[in-house]
């Protein structure tokens, strides 16, 4: 399948998608930039280095699948898909615009490269389990990646699926938790503490990898590798708003949209 130009790196990819996500939420006066920035590096490594996908043939049966279960992080996925060539970067101007398919919560209809529409939390992991079952039966080696938020793990349906995947030995399933420690109305620790989080997944039978979710050198092998039997859970410690100093670790940027001056400062900090 088509690869990226060799002189480009996943770090560059992450910088570009961060910048485009910032431009999108600024133009649309939209929310959720904090979650986009915390997931940007995970997605950059996935889309740049790991997933076997072909932007020219987005429906190839043997392709790897990605599900954004935290559907409110749509802007960064749209930016990643555009960067990867699934559709023109110019489409990103339509984010949250009237009549546009690029809705604030991720939408597959009319958007090449988006596998699943989500937005109500707690759905993606079950869908991923179903895909992993079907793709395993197909025998073509296709993998499934699901990105969860930490707050999403309050949903009981996540734990239904968490129980299911190791029992059915879904080794072709890799789940990444974007553990930025801030959920919708407060810090995870204060709202409904998930700790000991990694141990919970281990107790459910997952192969657990814990890492810095902004360290591409750590993300790359963790995402590329699979356990011979078990599904993999990557607990990615991240910073909400990562890369823009005044957005980092601030709940307000779950909701706020940068104004013109803030956008300029943010882009400058990213080196764009």
């Amino acid at each position: 399948m088509a690869g990226m130009a060799p002189d480009l790196t996943s770090e560059y990819f992450a910088r570009r998608t961060r910048a485009n996500a910032l431009r999108m939420v600024h133009a649309a006066k939209a929310s959720h930039i904090g979650t986009c920035l915390s997931a940007a590096d995970i997605l950059a490594v996935l889309y740049h280095d790991v997933m076997r996908i072909d932007p020219q043939q987005p429906q190839l049966p043997q392709r790897d699948r990605f599900i954004l279960s935290k559907g409110h992080g749509a802007a960064i996925i749209y930016a990643a898909l555009a960067e990867r060539g699934f559709f023109p970067v110019d489409w990103l101007k339509g984010y949250c615009a009237d009549g546009s398919p690029l809705t604030g919560h991720i939408n597959h209809a009319g958007v090449p490269g988006v596998e699943v529409s989500t937005g109500s939390l707690g759905h993606g992991l079950s869908i991923g389990c179903g895909m992993a079952l079907g793709l395993r039966a197909d025998g073509r080696g296709a993998r499934v990646f699901v990105l969860l938020s930490d707050g999403e793990c309050d949903e009981g349906s996540i734990w239904e699926a968490a129980l299911f995947a190791p029992f059915h030995k879904l080794a072709n399933l890799t789940v990444i938790v974007d553990y930025n420690k801030i959920q919708s109305f407060g810090s995870v620790k204060d709202v409904l503490d998930l700790e000991p989080f990694a141990d919970k997944w281990r107790a459910f039978g997952w192969h657990v990898v814990e890492l810095d979710g902004h360290d591409h050198a750590a993300l790359r092998p963790a995402l590329q590798g699979t356990h011979p039997v078990l599904p993999t859970l990557i607990l990615a410690h991240t910073v909400k708003g990562k890369g823009v100093s005044f957005m980092e670790n601030d709940l307000a940027w779950h909701y706020r949209s940068p104004d013109t001056a803030q956008l300029a400062q943010a882009l400058a900090e990213l080196g764009e």
Binding site: S120, G130, A137, E160
Partner: protein, 318 residues
């Protein structure tokens, strides 16, 4: 009904290896033949209907035709959002099958009375809603459903429903099935109320009223073309359903009648009144009688509300 369903499903699965069956830890003494013949295409997901439905949606995205099987409200209400988002919005080839629709599990109490399923399933995009009236209809709609590409909801009774159609009766997808002619009114039944509709027609005939009977296994899409014709022929159309008065057959038919260009038949809805069975258990037959959905109560209500046959009935009583 469920025996006929699994037999038809087995035959479909033999011819189509895309067919998978998921259950939410229910199906004892029903699903075993499928499990034995197609163990690789069966998963007991456990008592986790949300997960079952999401998994079905994901499997469908890899080209499978997936049946989700459970009883009562568990395949519909518990996982409604998964059906809406993960299945219907993606037009996933998932068949939601509920055994014990209506009051089939009557003695088990309120949680097991499935009387809002048709309403909530009708509201979903891409969803076909099926409520067959006897085992012959079950056989037809099951085979049709497994050929159809897209979400379906199938409401089944439990077991032991009588065959009311001839084995060689002909059906067509999306069509209401006319069963008996009659000029005075039309009795339109969906699901397991079909034997009752026939009994009502018999009782009305004894009173000199000629009631036509038709069965409506396709609740959505509704056979509005046929209904429009009948609306011009009959002064009354009575709907019979083991379902809430809200959102089921009565509302579907009523909505159709109300949009006809000419003055049309009036609607006589027979359905389950809201919370009529709070704190009351009992056999299906007993409960239906309590809420006026048995043949005698419906016959009396029809004659009273329409005036049809009332003279004959009064004479026979005198």
């Amino acid at each position: 009904m469920r025996t006929t369903f699994i037999k038809a499903l087995l035959e479909c699965a033999a011819a189509d290896e895309r067919i998978w069956l998921l259950c939410g830890d229910l199906g004892y003494s029903v699903l075993e033949p499928f499990i034995q013949q197609y163990p690789q295409r069966f998963i007991n997901v456990g008592v986790a209907e949300q997960n079952m439905t999401g998994i079905a949606g994901g499997l469908a995205m890899t080209g499978r035709k997936v049946v989700c099987y459970s009883i009562g409200n568990f395949t519909t209400l518990r996982c409604y959002e998964q059906i809406r988002n993960d299945v219907c919005y993606h037009n996933g080839d998932v068949k939601v099958v509920s055994v014990g629709g209506g009051l089939a599990y009557g003695s088990q109490g309120y949680t097991h009375h499935a009387v809002e399923d048709l309403a909530v399933m009708r509201a979903l995009p891409n969803m076909t809603v099926l409520a067959p009236g006897d085992p012959v209809e079950v056989d037809f709609v099951t085979r049709w459903m497994m050929r159809h590409d897209g979400p379906c909801y199938l409401r089944l009774g439990k077991a032991g429903e009588p065959k009311l159609h001839a084995a060689d009766a002909s059906f067509a997808p999306g069509k209401i099935v006319a069963m008996r002619p009659g000029k005075d009114l039309l009795l339109l039944s969906t699901g397991g109320m079909l034997p009752t509709a026939l009994q009502v027609a018999d009782a009305l005939a004894a009173a000199g009223v000629a009631a036509a009977v038709a069965s409506c296994p396709f609740v959505k899409p509704l056979d509005t073309a046929w209904l429009a014709q009948q609306a011009a022929r009959y002064p009354w159309i009575a709907t019979l359903e083991e379902h809430s008065r809200f959102g089921g057959l009565a509302d579907a038919v009523g909505g159709c009648l109300a949009t006809q260009p000419q003055p049309v038949a009036r609607l006589l809805p027979f359905a389950v009144p809201e919370l009529a069975l709070k704190g009351v258990g009992g056999t299906q037959q007993e409960l239906l009688q309590r809420i006026g959905l048995d043949a005698a109560s419906i016959t009396a209500a029809i004659t009273q509300q329409t005036g049809l046959g009332s003279q004959t009935l009064r004479q026979s009583k005198a």
